[in-house]
């Protein structure tokens, strides 16, 4: 372990900048976006420096730590504010600050007409700080702070235009769904503390061999719940589509490239937990498998370009989760797909933003068409991202996704066939919906209003897109050459190459199958959408399309099972409180008042009745004395 004193600046700089921009208010309107971008770029610079320094070190010395202060210390519960930068977290640091900086630059132009641009950049910096804390914390509790911090930033950014009630609702939905996941993370931390007496990654890792299997599985399941909340995985997936209410750069940065992949980070970071529990691993692959199909199916029917991309994100993260559930062979592959996905999906979201920018914020793909000619750079960069995501060699997605399909088959036995089949099917559907998206948007005849004047976006916008496009092209090859990423991550993830494990099929066969799936998907989409796209979505469609348009009823389910019963319960409890519990309290009062009213009747004001009572009282007294002395 090396100690470093720079790590804290990674978090502190954007945090301070964010606080400054919020506190100064309108005074910072003129230069707020510049400061925020500069800070983000500086963080990227620090990240690169740290990466280079790490590269020169070898073995265990590669990981760097920085102890800041003792945060919470009660009895045996000691949590320090300490940062840990190892081979895994540096990948994330570079992704977050790198893509983050590009998106800051993009947003300068994209948000230039918004009166609250400064506030937007403040939130972006807040997000960068929280996300870096998430990946740099050296204990689960530090991670948790970042975890909820990115949730807050996501909430603020989704609801950035919260004067629209539906947007505000989308933000709230995202936060609440995330909170359900946070329950999982909280419980995982509590179990870890009760089991091991510590919540640092290192301490938990050391304690795993001594703990009972049930406890490990419980921790694993809770971590998975947390990951499902943050990464929009089944059954907590429903918030991601609505989260597209946020400005498009946010969708690119938070809801595609970084935050939503935090769940994958959590699982790969906790590899020692999942290595020790096959049940937990099984749960992970089930969740990943369901989500990758689920998201892909939704993606086939969406006409809103951002929602289609969101569904795709959900599906791609499903791939990553599935890979990370496959054990040591999968962790590094999951990270590889995460990184390549960070490039191509962010690039495509920015492309979508560019299209919207030129089309007066229109998002309906049925109203696009033929934009490619008018926005050549956007079309080109988007196209490269498209080739990457559907997995055409030698683009980035080919390397990472192909590997996932391969190791899914290699899981062996029935499980291998099911998982491999699912990933192949997913690849075909991905090719279908992405082709549909590209064809509907960029080619064909124009279907937009006369009012719209599509034009290429300014350089500040297309430059980040171009950089990301380069990443979509080259990153896969770079990560894969000589197994570099896998080897790099091996000390942290205990990962090993794809070799080993029960091979169901030769890698070349798998690649062939995957390519065939892609070709089929592309082919169907081309025949269906190359021409004659109706401006209004047709109503005479199959039940499946209808279901997919309704997000496979995820919201209806949540509403029927959680929301409405919850509302009824709340209303019932409010009534109970006022009528029953407070009613009992009032009853006590009523009893006293009632009995007092009854007794008041004998106070009739007639002297003779008072005298009578006196006489009777005296008689009663005498009678008592008589009885007692008898």
């Amino acid at each position: 372990m090396t100690t470093s004193s720079n790590l804290v600046y990674l978090i502190a700089l954007p945090l301070v900048s964010s606080a400054l921009l919020i506190l100064l208010g309108r005074k910072a309107d003129k230069w707020g976006h510049l400061l925020a971008t500069l800070v983000s770029a500086t963080a990227f610079g620090i990240g690169v420096m740290e990466f280079l320094a790490m590269h020169t070190r070898t073995g265990a010395a590669r990981a760097a730590t920085q102890h800041l202060f003792s945060w919470i210390s009660v009895g045996s519960f000691n949590v320090d504010a300490s940062l840990l930068l190892d081979q895994l977290s540096i990948c994330f640091v570079l992704l977050i600050t790198g893509v983050g900086t590009l998106i800051h630059i993009y947003s300068i132009a994209y948000m230039s007409h918004d009166r609250d641009r400064r506030r937007f950049f403040a939130y972006l910096n807040l997000f960068i700080a929280a996300m870096l804390l998430l990946v740099l914390g050296d204990s689960y509790l530090n991670l948790y702070v970042g975890w909820e911090g990115v949730g807050l930033a996501s909430y603020l950014l989704i609801g950035f235009w919260n004067q629209k009630p539906t947007y505000a609702t989308a933000a709230k939905k995202a936060f609440v769904a995330n909170r359900v996941g946070d329950v999982g993370l909280s419980l995982a931390i509590m179990i870890a503390f009760a089991q091991f007496g510590t919540v640092t990654f290192e301490g938990v890792k050391a304690g795993v061999p001594h703990a009972s299997g049930a406890a490990i599985t419980a921790i694993g399941a809770m971590l998975l719940l947390a990951a499902a909340g943050k990464s929009a995985q089944f059954p907590l997936q429903s918030w991601l589509g609505d989260a597209m209410a946020g400005p498009t750069p946010v969708s690119a940065l938070i809801h595609a490239a970084t935050m939503v992949t935090a769940g994958v980070y959590l699982i790969t970071r906790s590899n020692y937990i999942f290595d020790a529990s096959s049940t937990a691993r099984l749960l992970v692959v089930i969740v990943g498998g369901i989500t990758l199909i689920f998201g892909a199916l939704i993606g086939t029917a969406k006409d809103d370009i951002k929602k289609a991309l969101a569904a795709s994100t959900m599906s791609q993260i499903g791939y990553m989760i599935l890979a990370s559930g496959l054990g040591p062979v999968g962790y590094a592959i999951a990270i590889m797909h995460l990184l390549t996905h960070g490039f191509f999906k962010a690039g495509m979201f920015l492309g979508a933003g560019s299209v919207m920018h030129g089309m007066d914020d229109e998002v309906n793909m049925r109203r696009f068409g033929g934009i490619g000619k008018l926005m050549p750079i956007t079309f080109a960069t988007f196209g490269l991202g498209y080739l990457a995501i559907i997995g055409v060699p030698p683009f980035a997605g080919f390397y990472s996704k192909d590997k996932i399909i391969e190791i899914a088959f290699n899981a062996g036995g029935t499980k291998g066939w099911i998982l491999g089949g699912a990933t192949l099917l997913g690849a075909a559907i991905t090719a279908f919906y992405m082709t549909r998206l590209v064809v509907m948007t960029f080619t064909g005849s124009k279907r937009w209003d006369e009012k719209a004047h599509p034009h290429e976006s300014p350089i500040l916008m297309w430059l980040p897109m171009a950089v990301l496009a380069i990443g979509s092209v080259a990153s896969g090859f770079f990560f894969n050459s000589g197994n570099s990423l896998v080897n790099w991550l091996a000390p942290v993830l205990n990962s090993r190459g794809v070799e080993g494990g029960a091979e169901l099929m030769k890698p070349i066969v798998v690649s062939g199958l995957a390519l065939a799936a892609v070709v089929i998907g592309v082919g169907i989409a081309l025949t269906k959408y190359r021409s004659n796209v109706p401006i209004e979505a047709p109503e005479d469609v199959t039940i499946f399309t209808k279901l997919a348009r309704k997000d496979l009823l995820q919201d209806s389910f949540n509403e029927a099972v959680l929301m409405r019963p919850g509302q009824k319960l709340t209303a019932g409890l409010v009534k109970t409180d006022t009528n029953v519990i407070d009613g009992l309290v009032r009853l006590v009062g009523a009893i006293f008042i009632g009995s007092a009213t009854a007794l008041r009747r004998i106070q009739n004001g007639y002297v003779r009745s008072y005298a009578l009572i006196m006489v009777l009282g005296a008689l009663a007294l005498i009678a008592m004395i008589w009885v007692v002395t008898l």
């Binding site: 106070q603 009739n604 004001g605 007639y606 002297v607 003779r608 009745s609 005298a611 009578l612 006489v615």
Partner: protein
């Protein structure tokens, strides 16, 4: 003659007085009934004084008479005042305490 007969008489007078207080409405009559009760008690005092052979009871009866005299002064003053203000000597008309 049996000395306890004086006690019976005393009890009888007291009862008549008590019943009178409760049932009559005219303030003067109620007042007289109270006097009757007081004098019934006096009679009992004197009787017991005789039975016990000392003068304590007789002294007590003098006290009672003095108190009764004072009471007559105050009580009659009240009755006269009420009669002046309400033109009635009925006790039921003076049921102001209940409100």
């Amino acid at each position: 003659m049996d000395i306890s007969n004086y006690l019976y008489l005393s009890a009888l007078l007291f009862t008549i007085g008590a019943v009178g207080v409760v049932v009559r409405r005219n303030a003067i009559v109620v007042f007289m009934c109270i006097e009757l009760m007081l004098n019934a008690a006096n009679l009992a005092f004197v009787t017991f004084s005789r039975i016990n052979g000392n003068l304590d009871g007789q002294v007590a009866s003098f006290f009672t008479m003095v108190v009764a005299a004072c009471e007559v002064v105050v009580g009659l003053a009240i009755i006269v005042t009420i009669y002046r203000s309400r033109r009635s000597a009925s006790v039921d008309d003076a049921s102001l305490l209940k409100r």
